[in-house]
Structures are given as C-alpha cells and as structure tokens.
Symmetry: C2
Subunit: 429 residues, 2 copies
C-alpha cells in the first residue's frame, strides 16, 4: 500500500508529528497534565474532532471530550480514547494513537454521512502517566468514580496544587464529581474501548500489525530490605560473611527464574541500592524493588507468596535478614469476552489472524470495569517493542490497519438490547 | 591476670581512650591527616614517647617520630609504628595500637636501663586511611620513596591543598624527599615491624590473642559495566529481556563462589548502581565494583582472569554486554621469613601456639619492602572481628600479651652482621 492509497495511516502519523511539537523540553517530548503544551495539544485535538464532525471541548478537569451523536434517540454511549500526556522523553504514539485513530474513524463515518446506533465519545485524558503530580490515571479515575479529592492538594515540583492548576487551566476542580460515569445518572456508557501501541515486542516478533488484549495485567510491588553485616573486604573470610548483596543477588535471580517458568507472569527488579556502598566494605544493607504482573490475579498472588517464602529461605541460609513488603496492589482488569470476540472479527476482516495477548502495562481502560465492559486493540510497536522512549515507532501501514480494524469494530458494535428496546418504545409512542 | 598485674595492657587501653577524645565529630571517632586533632594526638604521643625515654618530634610531613638510641655506635635502625589517623566513625585501636605498644616496650626497656643493638624508631604515620585527600598511606609512601609530589596539589573537601595543609601544620611539604629511607644515605633501616589489631575474626574464632602475619594481601579492583536494554517491566516477556541487573547478579554470585572455593582468596562486590533505576523499567545499565585479594599474586591473577572470562560467558548467554576493567593493582607484600620466625618464637614464649595468617587489609608495613624486610604481629579483634567501626574492641589481656610479644621480639632481634662488623671495626679503631 502506498501512502496515497491509505485512508488513515499517513494522516495519523502526520498528526502525531504535529502533536510531538507540543513539548516542554524540545527536542525531547514531554507533555504533562495542565501544562501550556496540554492546552496546545488539546486545542489541536479539539480542532481535529470538530473537523471530523464532532462536538468537542474540555471538561472540568481538562480532559478533551468529543461526541459523535448517535443516529437514533435515547442511544447509549460507547466511550473510546486514551491519554494526551506523556512520560518525560517520550515517544510519539503512546496514548495519542488512541485519540487520533477514533477521530479518523469518525471523520470517515461522517464523510459517508453514517451515524451509529450509539453516541461515540472520544476522550483525550489529561493525565495518565502521573508525571506532574505523582498520581496516575487522573482522567480515567475521575470518570470511573475512583478519584480521591485529597489529590487536589498534591503539588507539582513548583509547589502548584492540582486544584490551582485545574482552575488556572480553565477547569473547575471542585466539580470533579460531575465526571463520574457510573450508576443511573450516566448509565448510558455501555463500553469503553481503547486502541494503543503495544509497548512490547510480541506483535513485532510474530509479524502482526494488531492484536486483541485479553486483560490488563494486575501488579504487586514490593520493597525488599536485606540486612547483613558490614565487614572489611580484605579481612573477613568468605565463609564468615553475612553479605547483603550476594543474598540479594540470589533473590533477584529467583524472581527472574520463577517468572520465566510461568508464561503468565513477568517479574522485574528495577531498583537496587547497597550500603555502605564502598569498594572495600562487605555490603550490610541492600534494598531493592520487585514488580510482578500477571493477567491472572491468582497466578500473581501465588507468585508473590512463593517469592517471599524463597526470600526467607535464602536469608536463613545466608544468615541475613529479609523484609519483603508489598506496598502496591492492583488487580487485573479482564477485557470483556464479547468485545474481544468483536475485535477478533474486525482483525480477521483485515485478513489477519487474531492474536490474543495480555497487556503488561497499565492503560486508561483499566479504570473502566467499574463503569462498563472494556476492550483494547494493540498496535505493533517497532524497534524491538521499545516505548516510553524517543525511539518508539509505528508505521503508517500499521496505523492504517489498526484504524480500519477500529472502524470495523465501531460499525459492527450493537449496544445491549435494553437500549434498543427503549428506543423502539419511543419510536412507537 | 588482674589489671594490677599487667605491665602494659591496662595502660595502653587507657591511652587509647585518651586518644579517642581527639576527634572531629564526637561522639564518633574521626581523625584525619593534618587536622587539629592530628596535632592533639601527635602532641600526646610525643609526650608518651619522651616520657618513655625517647627523643620525639614531628617530621616535615607531620608524621610523629620517636627514637630510642641504640646502645652501640653505628647501629642500624629498626622501625616500627602504625598510623595515627582514622576512618570516619572509627574504632579506637586500628593504627594506634601499633604506636602505643612499642612505646610501652621502650618505656619498660628504659625502666630497666636496657639499650638495644639497634636504634628503635617508632613512627605514628600522619595518614594511612586517606580520608582527607583521597590518597592512602601518605606517611609510609613518603618514607619508602613512593610519594608522588603531584599529590601535594590534591585538595580536601574545603579546597585546601595537601601542600598548604602540611605547611600550616608546621611541616615543609616541599622537603618530602628528605623522608625517603631507601638507599645509601639512609641504608640503616634494617627491618620494619608493625603490631596491629587483626580487623577480622580469625584469631577470635580460634581463641588466640596474637598471630604472625605471613603476607599483606595483594588486591585487584575492577569496575564492571553491564549494558542491557531498558524495557517496560510489564510488557517485555521474560524470554525477550536483556536485563543488566539479573546478569550482574549472576556475576556477583560467581565472584563469591569462585573466591569461596579457594582458601587464599577473598572477593567482594561492595558497590552497585542500576540505571534507569525505576521500579517499572527493566535495568539497562548496571555498574559494580569487584575487589579481589590474596596473599599470593599468582592466585589473584588467575582469579581475575577466570572471573573476567566467566563474566563474558554470562553476558553472552544473556545477550548483554560486559566491560570489566581493573583500575587498581597492588601486589602482595610478603613478610620476611626470618622475622616471621622470630615473631613465632616470641609468641611461643607467651605460651601460645603461633598461628600464621595473611592480612587481607592493607597496612603501613606494605610500603616498606622497598626499604627493608617487614613483619607484622596481629592482635585479636573482639566483637566478631569488626573494625573500621565504633564497635571494634581489644581486651587489656590481649594488649598485654601482644606488647609482651613485641618486647620479646625487640629484645631478641639481632641486626644483620654487616652492622655488627661495622660496629666492631669502629670499636677496634
């Protein structure tokens, strides 16, 4: 396929290039919540939404929200979207592709004069990465009724509170509750679907442009402290040592081995510190982090249990102490079976065998099971699957295929019959 | 033995308590080169030396030097001593015992009106630990002709050069060469002996008050860089990772295993750093130190060779890169066989079976093989062998036995016959 033959891919990649210019530290890409660049990106996205035939504006917390009204009255809402913000020194597609691709779908639908049996809402969440205030998923948490108003007092590096930043952006921080889409008042949201770059190498390694996400992995994070006994590196015989670092090294390798032996797990030690940290002193205190993720909560729970047991055995054998404390728990967010099936059909319609895969990373969609069934479409991530980094890549061909898949999904999705019944009742009246 | 029955031990421990009050950060003990506290400790030691019957003063670099003149003319010099300075947050005996114990010997000899067939020089080296200027063994290096005048430009944390500090102390930095005791001009130094707390648990574990040092271990230090590939902790499958930290952990355990399998080796990884160092990012860059020591240079060299080979194999297997660069090499300083034998006889005379053991730590004596044969006496270190720490301990009984051993050594040592001949020639003239 040449660029000229593409309906979506070329244009989406051009739009991503424009959005990459709204950055706080060019030539790097960094765009945090409620920044000047958030405003620039938001204005640009609102422009694209309106041009595509939607009504669009910011909500009270700075999320960018567009609506493509249903073709029938009393129709429910299908929500889609992803985040406008980025990590520091980010790539161009993480988050943004999930906003740009449905806008391209709506533009195409609108061009054909086609309306759907539901209203499609596209959201560009103001914050997912949590860079500015240290709280992640702010936009999706607000919409899923999981926002804690105490966070409004959190300050950024310049001492500005989230409340002040929201209000200065033109929002209304204290109206945060109005965004909650759960329950009767807003019961019309029947599905949340998100398209997103994979941020890993699975599709790349298997030569597939897109795949269906089965679940967003749950995670447990632990802080582990190993306490040995310092000693002179030259004078304490090897057999007399209580070396905290060699003990920790065994633990690091155990996490790796345990998770490697189970296809549904990943485990990472990303941080380690060693005290006193002198070349000629046997390490006394080592602290390290453990991050374990799985699409299955039970697999994750038994992994953590087993890892903690083994840490204790290693410590006993080596005459050191260990304290492994979980400090963060997030349950897996399973994707809805019927919606997965529909994405699989949409992928098959592109001539591609549907590949089901879990998402190890967190996404805005993970907040929405409190509101409605969720689903996610993954798009191949080039360059070895690297993301959160300037070398993140996506091809125009893949953007084209993913957007066509998403459009197929939107065109074929049927809201639950309750709404159809309601609409029919109205029609008869 | 009660305290009242001791000739040396009780008094030496009291003196060590006095010296502990000359500290830069009470209640901790820290005494650096050319500090006010160096002056206080030096004045106190010079007082003890003079009281014991010696002439004593500072030399041009702030070392404290006492002389107990020989009983015969044209006699050679036996040098003994250790360092007055300390690490930060030090114990009370490291270094100081090696100055106090020979002063006690001289005091006893002088009390008996006894002179030796050689002049005994006791040196309190101004710096061994290197805390202030980052160069270790400054005093002994100057005396062994191994001082680099470029070090005079080194600055402490306050920007004061070593040159200025020496001169402000009352020394004469540019006269550093006058301290060189090698060669013809000063060929009279025939032995250097040092008594020192063991700083390890060997004598403690075997229930021995003292032991004979066979060699001061040589050391190789390496800086090791492992380069993997960063990735998202949730999205990269275990089998696809190039994790620099798990690779480094295997290397750390290999150093331990290799050195544990060889009685003549110790190996330590005391420092490790991991980048980017985020809980949710697979480590890309890990740097760690390796410190390997042995009394045998050939054992150490083959260990380093084998460790580097294994590091390469681990890196290849794990698809990461490793660069292990030795940046510090110090050959072992073997103790003189005849002097060892004489220490063994002195120990046996106390009713103790002589235990021969290597010194894993460096000591002032290690600089002196360029000048003369060396020997060391180790004294039991309490509290599990801990040193460089406030919980370093020595009992009065052990100080007593060690000083009696040292006195036996001094009383029985005979200088090489060259000097005896020379003295006889003079006598005949």
């Amino acid at each position: 396929m040449t660029n000229d033959e593409m309906r979506f891919g070329t244009e989406i990649l051009k739009q991503a290039e424009v959005l990459a210019t709204f950055t706080e530290d060019a030539p790097r890409i960094t765009r945090t919540y409620l920044s000047k660049e958030h405003r620039q990106a938001g204005d640009y996205l609102i422009g694209l939404m309106r041009e595509a035939g939607m009504t669009a504006d910011y909500d009270v917390m700075g999320n960018i929200v567009g609506r493509y009204e249903a073709g029938v009255p009393f129709a429910p809402v299908v929500m889609t979207g992803s985040h406008q913000d980025s990590v520091r020194n980010a790539g161009k597609y993480d988050g943004l592709f999930g906003i740009l691709s449905p806008i391209a779908c709506v533009k195409e639908l609108n061009r054909q004069g086609k309306r759907l049996p539901y209203t499609l809402e596209i959201v560009g969440f103001g914050d997912e990465e949590g860079v500015r205030f240290g709280v992640t998923l702010i936009g999706s948490k607000a919409m899923a009724g999981n926002f804690d108003p105490a966070w409004l007092e959190k300050k950024d590096a310049n001492g500005i509170t989230m409340r002040d930043a929201i209000n200065q952006f033109g929002g209304d921080a204290d109206a945060w509750q109005s965004l909650d889409r759960r329950g009767d008042g807003h019961g019309e949201v029947v599905a949340f679907v998100e398209s997103h770059i994979e941020q890993g190498p699975t599709l790349l390694d298997e030569g597939l442009a897109v795949g269906v996400v089965t679940a967003i992995a749950g995670a447990t994070r632990m802080n582990v402290k190993v306490t040995g006994l310092a000693g002179h590196a030259g004078t304490v015989a090897m057999t007399k040592r209580q070396d905290a670092l060699t003990a920790a090294s065994e633990m690091v390798l155990y996490v790796e081995r345990y998770c490697r032996d189970n296809e549904n797990l990943v485990g990472t030690v990303g941080r380690i510190a060693c005290l006193p940290g002198a070349i000629n002193v046997i390490p006394q205190d080592v602290e390290f982090s453990v991050d374990v993720r799985s699409g299955s909560d039970s697999v994750r729970h038994s992994a953590i249990k087993q890892i903690r047991t083994e840490f204790t055995l290693i410590a006993e054998r080596r005459n050191v102490k260990v304290d492994a404390q979980p400090f963060f728990e997030l349950n897996a967010a399973p994707c809805d079976d019927a919606l997965q099936k529909q994405f699989a059909d949409a992928i098959a319609a592109q001539g591609i065998a549907p590949r089901y895969l879990p998402s190890g990373a967190g996404h805005d969609a993970m907040e929405f099971p409190k509101v409605c069934p969720i689903a996610m479409l993954f798009v191949r991530c080039g360059n070895g699957g690297i993301s959160h980094h300037p070398s993140e890549t996506m091809t125009a061909e893949d953007a084209e295929i993913a957007t066509a898949t998403l459009l197929h999904f939107f065109e074929h999705y049927q809201p639950p019959s309750f709404f159809a019944d309601k609409a029919q009742r109205v029609d008869r009246s």
